[in-house]
Amino acid sequence: MRIDLLYFAWVREAIGTGAETVEVPDDVTTVATLIDWLVTRSDGHASALRDRARLRAAVDQVFVDHDASIVGAREVAIFPPVTGG
């Protein structure tokens, strides 16, 4: 399954890019398993995604929990807790 990934703030800085398109294995079906798989891709990924409790996610621009499905998603974003306003 092909997915566009977006990263923001310190997640983006640690990974070293704000966007990448990946081909994920079939057993990657949730945000949590996506993160598990991503950490194996590079030291930057491993470092950025180490502390799961500090990561938030959106699937096709809708905020979701880590147990949310990504099956059929076009775009998944991973980022820190938001600090706007």
Binding site: F8, A9, F63, F79, P81, V82, T83, G84, G85
Partner: protein, 145 residues
């Protein structure tokens, strides 16, 4: 009438407030957040998630309009680099009566703080740090549930 804008230009309060005013609704409440310069911050950079940000802000405005029967809701949020004193965000709510306008304005800024994908990076001279989310903001957002 809902107006949501994410922009890198300075926020024009006069134009935004005038647009929020309606002669058949007597009350306009607003909130403006400024870059604070009293703790050594020399620059504040705002990053956001284009598309998702506007969606999240529009949804919050729709919720406020429905809950308080507003005549209008406005959120203008600046992104990119800013300096102390600059306006980061302007929220305005328009209603027939002041109670609804004031409450809805507080709702919008409280929920925006935890529910819209913006991230602040503070620069103090050469040192940059990403601002950490605050528990008090989560609590403020939670009181509207």
């Amino acid at each position: 009438m809902i107006r949501v804008v994410v922009q890198s230009e300075p926020i024009d309060i006069a134009a935004e407030h005038a647009a929020a005013e309606q002669a058949d609704a007597g009350a306009v409440a607003s909130f403006t957040g400024l870059v604070r310069g009293d703790d050594g911050v020399t620059e504040l950079a705002l990053e956001h998630y284009p598309g998702a940000t506007e969606r999240a802000l529009t949804k919050l405005c729709e919720q406020a309009v429905a809950r308080w029967s507003l005549a209008g809701a406005t959120v203008v949020h600046r992104v990119g680099p800013m300096v102390p004193g600059d306006r980061v965000v302007f929220v305005a709510t328009t209603a027939r009566h002041r109670g609804a306008a004031l409450e809805a304005c507080a709702f919008l800024i409280d929920r925006l703080k935890t529910g819209a994908p913006f991230w602040k990076r503070e620069q103090r001279g050469a040192a940059a740090t990403w601002v950490e989310a605050r528990d008090s903001d989560a609590a403020a957002a939670e009181r509207w549930r």
